[in-house]
């Protein structure tokens, strides 16, 4: 049952990815300039540009380039970066783990935090606590993230010198170093994603708290914490994981501002790089990753929703 679903969804995902690559390719083919011009910059002269274009295969018509790229991708090779002359796979291989690490750490902090806030607000709905938490989460998204990040840097790195202002991770870093290095980027990203997840969790749990079985549990003499955690929350998992999936899928591509401010070499800045240098193979690969990550998150959310729901599980 679940396997069938997964198989079907993966098939659809491939279709969607194809669509994404087409969209990205057609938008980027509208971009003025190309890799050859960008590579040569201010010093470009028409003859040199033409020659370089020839070498990069940019003089072929767009649809041919797309098909060549697609053929390569299907055989497992995303191509060679036009700008750096390195295999796209290697470039991505360097950046993706870093992005995943940042996203993973952010998820590890933000998800429990959001659940805590969401469940607490739901339990004490309309109380002073609920309203304060609401204002807090609202304020978190109400301030532009670059401002949050910059304030954090000025306070924690420049003034207090507790944390590094840029995120540099050496391969042999200890846990303490890692924690220090990631503290601020993770905090900034949490500001962005926690609010949405917390609000969704609150709504989903409240939805369950209004149901007759929760009233039943109250009438059994169960305490609020038990009701929220053991009764309501398991039934709210479906919508909650969906919200989490959507928020977390933001973490790869949406981290661009955090990557810029903390000078963190992740995949979002790589994609921006690819756009500005018109490096089509790299750009396409990044787009595939973002899109694939999104689709995977949504799929995982659906599977979790099914597994958490006996009605769907035992069908």
């Amino acid at each position: 049952m679940i396997l069938l679903l997964v198989a079907k969804r993966i098939l659809i995902a491939f279709f969607t990815l194809l669509l994404v690559s087409l969209v990205v390719f057609s938008i980027t083919s509208l971009l003025p300039g190309d890799a050859a011009q960008e590579l040569l910059g201010q010093s470009a002269t028409p003859e040199i540009v033409a020659e370089l274009r020839e070498q990069l295969g940019l003089n072929q018509p767009g649809h041919i380039r797309y098909l060549v790229w697609l053929k390569g991708l299907l055989s497992g090779d995303p191509g060679i970066s036009m700008v750096s002359d390195m295999p796209v796979r290697d470039i991505i291989g360097q950046r993706l783990p870093k992005s995943l690490m940042l996203a993973g750490l952010t998820a590890a902090v933000s998800v429990p935090l959001a659940l805590l806030i969401g469940i607490l607000s739901a339990m004490y709905r309309d109380s002073r606590l609920d309203r304060s938490l609401n204002i807090v989460t609202l304020s978190m998204i109400a301030v532009p993230e670059f401002l949050v990040a910059t304030i954090a840097v000025i306070v924690f790195a420049v003034q207090l010198r507790w944390l590094p202002s840029i995120t540099i991770v050496s391969p042999d870093a200890t846990f303490g170093e890692l924690a220090r290095a990631f503290a601020m980027p993770v905090m900034t990203l949490c500001f962005v994603v926690v609010a949405q997840m917390a609000r969704m969790t609150r709504a989903a749990v409240i939805n369950q708290l209004d149901s007759p079985y929760v009233e039943m549990a109250i009438l059994k003499g169960a305490r609020p914490t038990r009701i929220a955690l053991r009764h309501a929350f398991p039934n709210a998992i479906g919508p909650v994981v969906n919200a989490i999936a959507l928020s977390l899928s933001y973490l790869l591509g949406g981290a661009i501002i955090v990557e810029t401010i903390f000078n963190y070499p992740g995949i979002a800045s790589l994609m921006v790089n690819a756009v500005t240098s018109r490096d089509m193979p790299l750009l396409q690969a990044c787009a595939m990753i973002f899109s694939g990550a999104y689709l995977m998150m949504v799929l995982v959310a659906d599977i979790v929703a099914i597994v958490s729901n006996p009605k769907l599980r035992h069908r």
Binding site: E215, M216, L219, K220, R223
Partner: protein
């Protein structure tokens, strides 16, 4: 000696739009002795559930218990602290709610939920609680008491869940158990089983019970005392016998009147001529869902070869329990659910199976009225928009004329004209159902399909709708198909009755034939399961024998569909062969192996 349960001066309020307090329960007093069953009876909005919940010092969101005293034994319930309440609820008083399907947590196993009370109050060890639960399961006549607890709520039937919930309530041996409409959501055939199980357990354990219901007949079977409520106040209270035999309050009398079966259709209309084609004729109609096989039959068949005929101006009643396919039948006739096989003819002209292929006039002539007026009327539209739309759509008449015609239609369904400007969302349930009918009438149809139009309504309101339908029948030359699970409602308005079981017509005949004498065993079961408005009926009605299930290997389409539940089945025949269609002496068609039994 004072009573075991004592309620005095109870008052519950909600806050209104401008912060003012509105009393929804006002100065309610009653008491019950140990081991007694006290019934709170009233319609929706009477405050009966609010009172029942107040017994556990619980008020729903927005409500406040603002005054009064509740004593259970020597505990003053409303004075308990928050902390004491955690120990009190579920332990001393427990609760069985109306919809067990909703009151069970879908994500936890049944056993976990049944023993949760015992665990919360640390009444016994987990294993002891489990064995006690299993004991309760078997005394509540649940099948497979050893294993049923391992299932999840969605895996067992509604009637079983209702009994499981009773086990959940009784696991802590409470002083008082509150049964809030515990059988309302059940089919009559199931209801009788559940009532019997409840009664036995309550009596055996000497539990004091509060039985909340709107159904006098059910209460008559269960209660020692009755408290009649309306708008949050007590209208009448007393011993069951006294209240039933000599109701003093006029509201109680109205309730009694609505509960008694009455015949609303006086004369049977005969077909104008034998030669004229019937208004609506279904021949061997099958329908279902899922992938369609090579023969054009869907994977899951809901309707099997249904035949029926409706003459102009007559009413056909279709009765059956939930899941028997009666709504699908209505939807198939309307073209919402395309038939897989068979033919549907209107005035001898075959109708396309799918509504998109029917002509506008054909669509006009067949109207459907859905069960739930809340969802059948667009809440964003005004009454005039709803009722006027068919006029504009089918007739294309002017705005002025529409306005006039809407007023006439509203008068026809006994609604004031000024209701036309209101939004549907603002109306009461009964008003909505009348609008629903008015909309169908606006099309000037030949036949109206009424799908459970009274089942979501209170008894009195439902009775009024039945009266309206009967009156419309008399005044207009409209045929009805009246679909219901309530045999008394069907009997009161229909000329012919069709009994549907598992998608098959098991009996078809004139209305009179259903009042008396034996027909199909299922029909008999249905008729005999309707509680009568007198004490002692439950005990007199013979308990159903638990039957051995039929071997699963047999293709159910090749045997009698009712065999699993048939009290008079003949092993070797009923479970091996398809039943024939017999014509009984009274003219009824019956799908059964047995010849007409003498009762």
């Amino acid at each position: 000696m004072s009573a075991h349960l004592q309620v005095s001066g109870l008052e519950v309020t909600v806050s209104g739009e401008h912060g003012e307090r509105i009393r929804i329960v006002d100065d309610v007093n009653f008491e019950a002795n140990k081991g007694e069953v006290l019934a709170l009876i009233g319609e929706s909005g009477s405050g009966k559930t609010t009172i029942a919940l107040a017994l556990m010092a619980y008020a729903r969101r927005g409500c406040t218990i603002s005054a009064g005293q509740i004593r259970i034994g020597d505990t003053s319930v409303l004075e308990l602290s928050r902390e004491q309440l955690f120990g009190f609820r579920g332990n001393r008083v427990s609760y069985v709610s109306q919809s067990a399907a909703a009151a069970f947590n879908p994500s936890k196993s049944i056993m976990d939920q049944v023993i949760e009370t015992a665990m919360l109050h640390k009444l016994s060890s987990k294993s002891a609680a489990r064995s006690k639960a299993i004991e309760l399961f078997s005394s509540l006549a649940l099948p497979n008491p050893e294993t049923i607890g391992n299932h999840y709520p969605h895996q067992v039937s509604g009637g079983q869940l209702q009994r499981l919930m009773a086990a959940m309530a009784l696991i802590s041996d409470p002083d008082v158990v509150i049964l809030d409409e515990p059988t309302t959501a059940l089919d009559v055939t199931t209801q009788i089983e559940v009532l019997r199980a409840f009664k036995k357990v309550v009596r055996n354990r000497g539990t004091t019970a509060i039985y909340v219901s709107h159904d006098l007949s059910v209460v008559a079977q269960m209660a020692d005392k009755i408290v009649v409520l309306k708008n949050g106040t007590v209208r009448e209270a007393g011993e069951t016998m006294q209240v039933l035999d000599a109701p003093s309050d006029e509201y109680t009398q109205a309730l009694m009147a609505a509960a008694k079966p009455s015949l609303r259709v006086e004369s049977l209309k005969k077909p104008d001529s034998e030669t004229e084609a019937a208004l609506l004729e279904l021949r061997d109609v099958s329908a279902g869902f899922g992938r369609v096989d090579a023969d054009g039959m869907p994977k899951f068949t809901i309707l099997h070869d249904v035949n029926l005929t409706v003459e102009r101006g007559t009413t056909l009643g279709i009765i059956g329990e939930s899941g028997c396919g009666k709504s699908t039948l209505a939807r198939t006739i309307a073209g919402l659910h395309p038939a897989a096989a068979g033919s549907i003819c209107l005035d001898g002209v075959p109708l396309a199976t799918h509504l998109s292929k029917r002509t506008r006039d054909q669509l006009r002539r067949v109207q459907i009225v859905f069960q739930n007026a809340d969802t059948a009327l667009n809440p964003a539209h005004t009454v005039e928009q709803v009722v006027g739309r068919p006029l504009v759509f089918y007739k294309g008449i002017s705005a002025d004329e529409t306005h006039k015609r809407v007023a006439e239609l509203l008068a026809q369904v006994k609604l004031p004209v000024d209701i036309a400007t209101r939004r549907c969302a603002e109306l009461s349930g009964g008003q909505k159902q009348r609008i629903n009918l008015a909309r169908a009438l606006a099309a000037e149809p030949d036949i109206i399909l009424c799908d459970e139009v009274t089942s979501a309504l209170d008894t009195v309101v439902g009775a009024a709708i039945l009266d309206l339908i009967a009156e419309l029948r008399r005044e207009l030359d409209v045929a009805f198909i009246f679909i219901s699970h309530d045999i008394s409602a069907v009997r009161s308005v229909c000329d012919d009755i069709l009994v549907l079981y598992s998608g098959r017509t098991v009996e078809f005949g004139k209305r009179e034939n259903f009042a008396a004498g034996p027909g199909h065993p299922y029909t008999d079961l249905l008729v005999s399961s309707v509680p009568e408005l007198r004490q002692g009926w439950l005990e007199e009605t013979s308990a159903r024998t638990i039957l051995r299930p039929v071997d699963n290997a047999v293709d159910v389409d090749e045997i009698c569909a009712f065999v699993d539940r048939c009290p008079v089945r003949l092993d070797g025949i009923c479970d091996t062969k398809r039943p024939p269609r017999l014509i009984h002496a009274n003219g009824n068609e019956v799908l059964c192996h047995l010849p007409q039994a003498e009762s």
